[in-house]
Symmetry: C2
Subunit: 116 residues, 2 copies
């Protein structure tokens, strides 16, 4: 599974549309993180490898619902997605969020770890 297939699938056309940091909207970020499933995605992304396929989360929803949640996170600017073979890898946009909304993601992640 942990194959080292050299990435020709680079960051040109495998990337899905995402906002630039200047386009981040606070309400959109808060709304994105106000859902248990999405909060779990972000929590796992922050404490695992910096890149994870959708399947790797084992979410308690169907694939189509899963796609929906990843899109909400991506369109809010919380994650970035690109293809890796048949998989869609997700990455937390930590630095960009930190620059735009200092301390926000950090405090939310800490709060999330404190709760069921």
């Amino acid at each position: 599974m942990a194959d080292v297939t050299e990435t020709l699938t680079d960051a040109h056309d495998g990337c899905l549309p995402e906002p630039s940091p200047e386009e981040f909207r606070l309400a959109a970020v808060l709304h994105a993180l106000a859902d248990p499933v999405r909060l779990r995605i972000v929590t796992e992304l922050s404490s695992g490898q910096h890149e994870m396929a959708c399947q790797a989360f084992a979410l308690p929803v169907t694939k189509s619902t899963s796609t929906h949640h990843f899109r909400v996170l991506r369109e809010a600017g919380v994650i970035r997605q690109h293809r890796r073979g048949t998989a869609r890898m997700s990455v937390l946009r930590e630095e960009e969020l930190e620059r735009r909304f200092p301390g926000l993601l950090t405090s939310i992640l800490r709060a999330a770890r404190l709760q069921p």
Copy 2:
């Protein structure tokens, strides 16, 4: 839902039901703050006097909608409300939120000030 907190029984029963800090749910707080009107309420509460009547906010919605938003904030634990004459005063629960979710409110308020 109607949690009768025994704190401050001193000020008879002008207080409306509110959760105790242990009952704060992160998703509820984030959802409460993900609305522009409610974010504005909280922002004004944090930068004005520590007590404000609903009317004082001059919100761009009707009174009934206003009541709705204040209730969402109160039930999430973000604000406390008590009567003062015919007015309903609102107070930010800054310390309790800080104890439960350190840095959260602070970073959200800072982010809100950075945006339209």
